[in-house]
Symmetry: C2
Subunit: 336 residues, 2 copies
Amino acid sequence: MAGYVPGEQPRDGPFIKLNTNENPYPPSPKVFEAIRQSLTGDQLRKYPDPVGVAFRQTAGRVLGVDPEAILAGNGSDDLLTIITRAFVPEGGLVVSATPSYILYRSLAEIQGARYETVPYTSGWQTPEPWPIREAHLTFLANPNSPSGTMVTWPLVERLIENLSGPLVLDEAYVDFADSHGLHLAKSGKVIVTRSLSKSFSLAGIRFGFAVADPALIRELIKVKDSYNCDVLSLAAATAALEDREHLQVTRAKILATRQRMTHELQKLGFTVCDSQANFVWCQRKDRPVKPIYEELKRRMILVRYMAYEGYGDGLRISVGADQEIDCLLDELKQMA
Amino acid sequence: MAGYVPGEQPRDGPFIKLNTNENPYPPSPKVFEAIRQSLTGDQLRKYPDPVGVAFRQTAGRVLGVDPEAILAGNGSDDLLTIITRAFVPEGGLVVSATPSYILYRSLAEIQGARYETVPYTSGWQTPEPWPIREAHLTFLANPNSPSGTMVTWPLVERLIENLSGPLVLDEAYVDFADSHGLHLAKSGKVIVTRSLSKSFSLAGIRFGFAVADPALIRELIKVKDSYNCDVLSLAAATAALEDREHLQVTRAKILATRQRMTHELQKLGFTVCDSQANFVWCQRKDRPVKPIYEELKRRMILVRYMAYEGYGDGLRISVGADQEIDCLLDELKQMA
């Protein structure tokens, strides 16, 4: 087993990092304030709240869902791991659409389960009928990575009807999209997962949450580590979720840059999907893009190179700050 | 499956908490400083170092081990989970001594594995010969909870020789003991786990680490979540481990209180093991102790009540601050 290999994380050096979909803007000032207020001897020396009651209440209010329907996690990867352990037996079956988040395969492998994929249609939609009904767990990243595209809601709903088991609707990038599927969590067959890493600029503190039927959440709580979220990340996440204005301001900047870079990359000869996430997926019809990835790296710009059988290769480029994207576009023009 | 139920964590109210082995003293001032220095927009918005290189280097230097032999985790529970997933197949066998940390059973159950226990001798030692050689994973908490006792090192070494599979030497409490077993991690058959929750007063930030053969650590890295430790806890843990003086000062205070409370509790009629941890295990020969637990709770003092088949019931009482222990002893005297 190879294990999941995350994007390169150079610890120093003047790299422009457009490879792991980090937000180029800092988190809300209220996050810093909340962490500072939690920095007391008593908070650090005591165990944190096992389920994060205060976070659940705030998230429930902000998102309009029952607090008992929310499970906090140490990054959304923690939640995907908990869900896999809860639903998938050894030798069980995990399914996702492909090309998609390659962690799903690693989760299946670590669990000793089989992993099968269902190819997206050429328009990055789920095929009808969905061919594998009997999975123990089905993952759908919506928006999807690396494409940045979304499956339409009627298609998602018919997929859910079709499945005998639960669907994980991985909404790590949904705050950059036009719509979300939180209402589907009420069905009892859907677990929506969210991350604060991207839209809330909090990759460093590791925080995500899941939304599902409260009875299902209670089962997941039995599987998670007792104290999976620390006191500082709980405080940070609660403050971040409350500051809707900060989210809207940084989101608007990222969406404007995304539109501009999509247009410019297309002018440079790339095929670029219309993205609903904070990255764009760039392919070339005329040639493989690995040399472009390598040349950009030499020029101190990191993007994510990915190749999927039947889909060719491509560059997944995070929507950075305008200045970073200007550098990227300049280098690409020089290389053309 | 019931899931592991941690000790009660009242979020407010004037309880004296002697039930979850938290350290009564605050963490090192250097921990606060390190967290404050990491509180920048860039640190929070970027993913943390996946393996915590800086922490590993510091821990390696301080503990005198190869940094590649160290794995950082989101609390030592995260490490125990990772180790279980790496070594134990569904239907596999997990073994521990009993009475001991009840999480081991939960980990086996979540993994779909069988769980068997080997009773400690009346002197809280491992029996010879150890009767279950063929476990996929064997846990030994040393010092043990709830007894606070330690198995002697010759016995531990013979246990390791006897086992066909790996031994997890759970040293969550070892900083309060007279000796430790870190040297055993070199054998390739032992994984030592440590926690910063107790001796370093950092239960709130969730940090632990494992020490084992570097080849074994590389396998565990494949199983862990990619970014299992956040940037603030990595900074806090690194600073905590470096401040040996703070550890020695708080440790000395806790050991002095432990000695005093052991003596006083014995005078009150409890049978109290000599403890090598930051708690004491108190039983009574004359009567069950559940009513004492309940009466203490009514009097706003929380201790941990535990009952083990064949060993009777007891109170596991954390070594709190002197003032807290004085209150406990006063209430117990009034109740006598």
